[in-house]
C-alpha cells in the first residue's frame, strides 16, 4: 500500500487542456474511430459517445487535465496496424448450440469462457426492435440464446465504458469489439494496470462501422428498407443484405455506402483485429461457418475446451480470402490519407 506514487503525463501538442489536444489532433482531424476508450476512462465522465461524434461539452471548464484520454486513444500518434497478424491456429467452425451471425463462434467462445471460469462477465452488444445497439452484461451462457443479443449490428455501441464499469466490479471480464476497440483496450492495459482484468478480447473482422441514424435513414431512402422490419443484416461478397420479416431480401452494394462511412474508418487498415485474443468473422469459410483465428494461449485453451466438449463442428478455412481482404483494406484506406 503506497502513500506516495507517481503518474506520468503525456506530452501536449497544443497549449490547451488534454481534451483540447485530443479534439484538435484526433476528432477534428477526422481520425476518431469512435471506440469510446476516452469516454470510458474520463474521471469526471465528461466525454460523451453514443450515436453522435465523440465530444466533451464544456471541456474548457470541466476537463481536469489528467491526460488519461490521450493515453488510451488508439488514434493518438497513429500508425495503422494491418495484415493477418500473429496467430496460433486458424479454423472454420459452427457452434452446435447457439445461433448467431454465421457460425455463432463469438457467442460460443464467450459461453465456453464463462463455463471454464476464465471470465465472470462478458460485455455484449444487443439490439432493440429499432436495431439500435444496447449493452448487455452476460453472466451465464443461458443468456446467449436470445437472438436479439447474438448477431452483428453494424452500428456504434459504447462497449468500452461498460467494460470499465465491469472491470471495477469483477476480476475477470471479457468483451467483443471491432479492431479499433481491441487496440484501445491494449493501450488501456498498458497505461492502467486495472485493465489487465480484461482476460478475453474477441475481435471481429471489420471494414467499416456506421452511426445508427445514418444507417437507418440510408436504408430507408435508398432501398425503402425499414430496419424495424428486419430480422438479419449481413455483408457478403461486397453486398449489404437485409433480410426482412416477410422473407424478402434487400441487396445494396457496399460501395454505395461510401457517403455514410465515418471518416475515422477511412484511415483504418486493420481488417483482422491483430491485437485480439481471437478474431472471428465470416470471410474465409462456408455459409453458416465462421473463420476463427486463435492468437493467444488463453484463446487456444478455450478452443481446446470447445473441441473437448464437442460444442462446435469444424472445417478447413480459406485463409487466402482473408489475406485478400486484408490487402484490399490497406489499398482502399491509405495512410497518410490522400488529400
Amino acid at each position: 500500500m503506497a502513500r506516495e506514487w507517481q503518474f506520468a503525463l503525456p506530452e501536449k501538442k497544443h497549449e490547451k487542456k488534454y481534451f483540447g489536444n485530443l479534439k484538435a489532433e484526433v476528432i477534428d482531424a477526422g481520425l476518431c474511430c469512435h471506440c469510446a476508450a476516452c469516454a470510458s476512462v474520463c474521471p469526471v465522465n465528461g466525454i460523451t459517445a453514443g450515436d453522435a461524434p465523440i465530444d466533451f461539452p464544456n471541456w474548457i471548464k470541466e476537463c481536469v487535465d489528467c491526460g488519461a484520454c490521450i493515453k488510451v486513444c488508439p488514434r493518438w500518434d497513429y500508425t495503422p496496424k494491418s495484415g493477418l497478424g500473429e496467430y496460433i491456429e486458424v479454423t472454420a467452425a459452427r457452434s452446435k448450440r447457439f445461433v448467431g451471425q454465421d457460425g455463432a463462434m463469438v457467442t460460443e467462445f464467450t459461453a465456453s469462457a464463462l463455463e471454464m471460469g476464465l471470465i465472470e462477465r462478458a460485455i455484449f452488444v444487443a439490439r432493440d426492435s429499432n436495431w439500435r445497439t444496447r449493452i448487455v452484461t452476460i453472466r451465464t451462457p443461458e443468456q446467449l440464446y436470445d437472438r436479439k443479443i447474438t448477431g452483428t449490428k453494424y452500428s456504434y455501441a459504447d462497449v468500452l465504458p461498460a467494460l470499465k464499469d465491469a472491470v471495477l466490479k469483477s476480476e475477470a471480464v471479457g468483451f467483443v469489439g471491432t479492431p479499433c476497440m481491441v487496440t484501445a483496450v491494449r493501450k488501456m492495459q498498458q497505461a492502467f494496470k486495472k485493465f489487465e482484468r480484461v482476460k478475453l478480447a474477441i475481435g471481429l473482422f471489420c471494414t467499416e462501422n456506421f452511426y445508427h441514424h445514418d444507417l437507418y435513414n440510408f436504408l430507408l431512402e435508398k432501398a425503402n428498407a425499414d430496419l424495424r422490419n428486419a430480422i438479419k443484416t449481413d455483408i457478403k461478397k461486397g453486398k449489404f443484405i437485409v433480410e426482412m420479416k416477410d422473407g424478402s431480401r434487400v441487396r445494396i452494394p457496399v460501395k454505395d455506402f461510401e457517403e455514410i462511412i465515418p471518416s475515422g474508418c477511412k484511415v483504418c487498415q486493420d481488417f483482422a483485429a491483430v491485437d485480439s485474443d481471437v478474431s472471428v468473422g465470416s470471410v474465409g469459410s462456408a455459409n453458416g461457418f465462421s473463420t476463427v483465428m486463435v492468437r493467444t494461449e488463453v484463446a487456444k485453451s478455450i478452443l481446446e475446451y470447445i473441441r473437448e466438449k464437442d460444442y462446435a463442428e469444424f472445417q478447413e478455412p480459406k485463409l487466402e480470402v482473408v489475406q485478400k481482404l486484408c490487402d484490399h483494406k490497406i489499398k482502399i484506406h491509405p495512410w497518410p490519407p490522400e488529400k
Binding site: 500500500m1 506514487w5 503518474f7 476512462v41 488519461a68
Partner: protein, 251 residues
C-alpha cells in the same frame, strides 16, 4: 348454511367473572392506578439512551459526510465554514440517531430534550453553530415521574428533583485509519482525491518521470500525508478507478 355452534357458557363461571369485573372497577374507582403523566407540570424521567435533540461537537468533526449520507430523512445538510459541518433540519429529522451512530469520532451526541418549539418552518433549519448546545427552553416542570412495572402492576413514583437534560457523550472507540493507494499503476492522474480532501492531506507535486537514469517524460507525485489524514474516506469514494482504501494504523 353455516351453523355456528353456541358457545358453551357456564353460568356460575360467568357470574364469578361478572363479580370480578365489578369488583375490579369499584376498586379502581376508589383508588385508581393512574398512569397519566401531567405534562407539562411534571415530566417523565428519561433514560440515558433517550433519542432526543442532537448535540454537535465541532472539535471532533472530521468532515467525513457520513451523517449526511446516512440520514434517512435527508435532514442533514453540510455547511462549509473552514471545514464542512452538519446542519440539521428539524422539520425533517425523525430522531432516529443514525447520524449519531455513524459518526466515527463521536462528534454528534444525544440529549434528553425532545420538546423544542419553533415559530416558523425556516427557524427549524438549524445550522451547525446552533446545535452545539442544548436549546434554552423555559420549562415548567417541577417534578419527574418514573414508571416501575412488575408484570401486571404499574407503579408511578413522583420525585421532586429534575434530572439533567444534557447527556455526557459516550466515549467512541476511534479506529485510526489512514488513506493509502492499493494499485498505483492504475492511477489515472486525475487528482480528484487531492481536490476533495477536506484536510488537504494529499499533495500533488510536479516531477520528472524516469526509468533508471533516463528521463522519459513529465509527471506528478501524489503524496498522502498521514499526519493530516483523518480517515474520513472521501478520497476513497471519489477515486474513479477505485484504487484508494482506508488502512488501519495499529495502536
Amino acid at each position: 348454511m353455516i351453523r355456528l355452534s353456541k358457545v358453551k357458557t357456564d353460568p356460575v363461571e360467568n357470574l364469578k367473572r361478572h363479580a370480578e369485573a365489578i369488583g375490579e372497577a369499584v376498586k379502581q374507582a376508589i383508588k385508581p392506578d393512574r398512569i397519566t403523566v401531567e405534562y407539562p407540570r411534571e415530566r417523565r424521567r428519561y433514560p440515558e439512551c433517550f433519542r432526543g435533540f442532537i448535540v454537535f461537537d465541532k472539535e471532533k468533526c472530521i468532515s467525513c459526510f457520513r451523517c449526511a449520507q446516512i440520514c434517512p430523512a435527508n435532514a442533514i445538510q453540510m455547511e462549509y465554514f473552514d471545514k464542512a459541518y452538519p446542519g440539521i433540519d428539524y422539520a425533517k429529522c425523525i430522531f432516529c440517531h443514525f447520524c449519531v451512530d455513524s459518526c466515527p469520532t463521536g462528534a454528534l451526541n444525544t440529549s434528553k430534550v425532545h420538546d423544542v418549539a419553533f415559530k416558523s418552518m425556516d427557524e427549524m433549519r438549524l445550522s451547525a453553530r446552533q446545535i452545539t448546545r442544548v436549546p434554552e427552553i423555559v420549562r415548567e416542570e417541577k417534578q419527574t415521574v418514573e414508571y416501575y412495572v412488575d408484570r401486571n402492576v404499574w407503579k408511578l413514583v413522583r420525585r421532586r428533583e429534575l434530572d439533567r437534560l444534557e447527556v455526557p457523550p459516550k466515549p467512541v472507540k476511534v479506529r485510526e485509519r489512514k488513506a493509502a493507494c492499493t494499485e498505483p499503476e492504475s492511477c489515472l492522474g486525475c487528482r480528484l482525491c487531492a481536490n476533495v480532501c477536506p484536510q488537504n492531506a494529499i499533495k500533488v507535486e510536479k516531477c520528472e518521470v524516469s526509468i533508471g537514469e533516463e528521463v522519459t517524460g513529465t509527471g506528478c507525485v501524489l503524496q498522502i500525508q498521514t499526519d493530516l489524514c483523518t480517515g474520513c474516506g472521501l478520497c476513497v469514494r471519489q477515486c474513479p478507478m477505485q484504487i484508494l482504501t482506508l488502512e488501519e494504523v495499529g495502536e
